[in-house]
């Protein structure tokens, strides 16, 4: 969702971008997730002309989606430091 927040993407683009960030997810697994996010109204898909090739379904984030992302970010911030501490305790002098 963070990626969709930055720019509208289509499925294949999204899977490439995730890989560029170092996330080793199987390419196909993004589609069930995209469907779920659409059902929950957090993202929306729309058919648009793509510069190279056929019309594709581009995804963009909704207002609800931005809120959900913000919430997730807050929760993540809250647990990130404690989890890091727990896991790498011995390395901290």
């Amino acid at each position: 969702m963070a990626i969709i927040n930055q720019e509208t993407v289509y499925g294949y683009e999204l899977s490439l971008k995730l890989q560029n960030y170092g996330l080793k997810v199987s390419e196909g697994s993004i589609y069930p997730v995209l469907l779920r996010l659409q059902k929950e109204g957090l993202i929306k898909g729309e058919f648009k002309n793509s510069p190279n090739g056929p019309d594709r379904k581009y995804y963009f984030i909704t207002k609800q989606g931005i809120n959900a992302l913000e919430e997730f970010r807050n929760n993540w911030e809250k647990i990130k430091v404690p989890v890091d501490l727990l896991l790498y305790k011995e390395q901290i002098p």
């Binding site: 390419e27 196909g28 469907l35």
Partner: protein
């Protein structure tokens, strides 16, 4: 883009797949389309996305199994699980449409058989006796029967999607299934006794009735 346009584009694009990827994709396509209680528009949208993705990946030398995993049925189930269902209003309309088509075919065949028997073999007469009670009972028995058979066929087709089935075995299965279902309907027609109000109607009434019902069903279909 509506679902019809998406299907058309999909049919054209599929030809660009390699044999291996095409087999994988088509199994998935049939399996997902056969999940009959899902919204058509969303179903076709995701199918077109999956196809686009596969084409892009194919251009880079990847195979369908590398992208969607080597358990296509499980993957397809995941997709189906996330697809929105048909809206209730559509569901009801489709049900009404099904009943109308069923009654149309039933009535038309009734009239047609009567005409053939009378004119070709000199059996019966132009008029046909109809008992309202038995007609209603026959209808209410054969309708769930038909729905049940339809459901069985869909389930079989879904089950057969991702497996290699012997062609001869499959033929035999369908043959036995066909005989059994026709037999069931004939049994219903034969064993239901005559009761209720009696009408005498000419065969062309049934033909006409069938046509009217068919046209009504077409109208309902356009509303769905």
């Amino acid at each position: 883009m509506n679902s019809k346009e998406l299907i058309e584009i999909n049919n054209k694009k599929r030809k660009k797949l390699t044999a291996e990827n095409l087999a994988y994709y088509e199994n998935m396509l049939v399996y997902i389309r056969l999940s009959h209680d899902k919204a058509e528009q969303e179903t076709e949208e995701i199918l077109s996305e999956l196809l686009d993705h596969l084409l892009d990946a194919q251009a880079e030398g990847k195979t369908a199994a590398e992208i969607f995993g080597d358990k296509p049925r499980q993957y397809a189930d995941e997709i189906i699980g996330e697809l929105p269902g048909i809206v209730t209003k559509k569901r009801i309309l489709m049900f009404i449409m099904g009943i109308l088509y069923f009654m149309a075919v039933f009535s038309f065949l009734h009239g047609l058989l009567n005409a053939i028997f009378y004119y070709a073999f000199g059996l019966g007469s132009v008029y046909r006796e109809i008992y309202m009670g038995s007609a209603a009972l026959k209808f209410f028995i054969s309708l769930p029967l038909l729905l049940g058979l339809y459901y069985l066929v869909i389930q079989y087709l879904r089950w057969s999607c991702f497996q290699q089935i012997n062609k001869i075995a499959e033929f035999l299965i369908f043959w036995v299934f066909g005989i059994l279902s026709v037999g069931l309907f004939l049994a219903v027609l034969y064993f239901v006794p005559d009761f209720g109000l009696k009408f005498e109607l000419p065969f062309y009434f049934f033909l006409l009735m069938g046509c009217i019902l068919f046209l009504t069903a077409q109208k309902v279909k356009n509303m769905v």
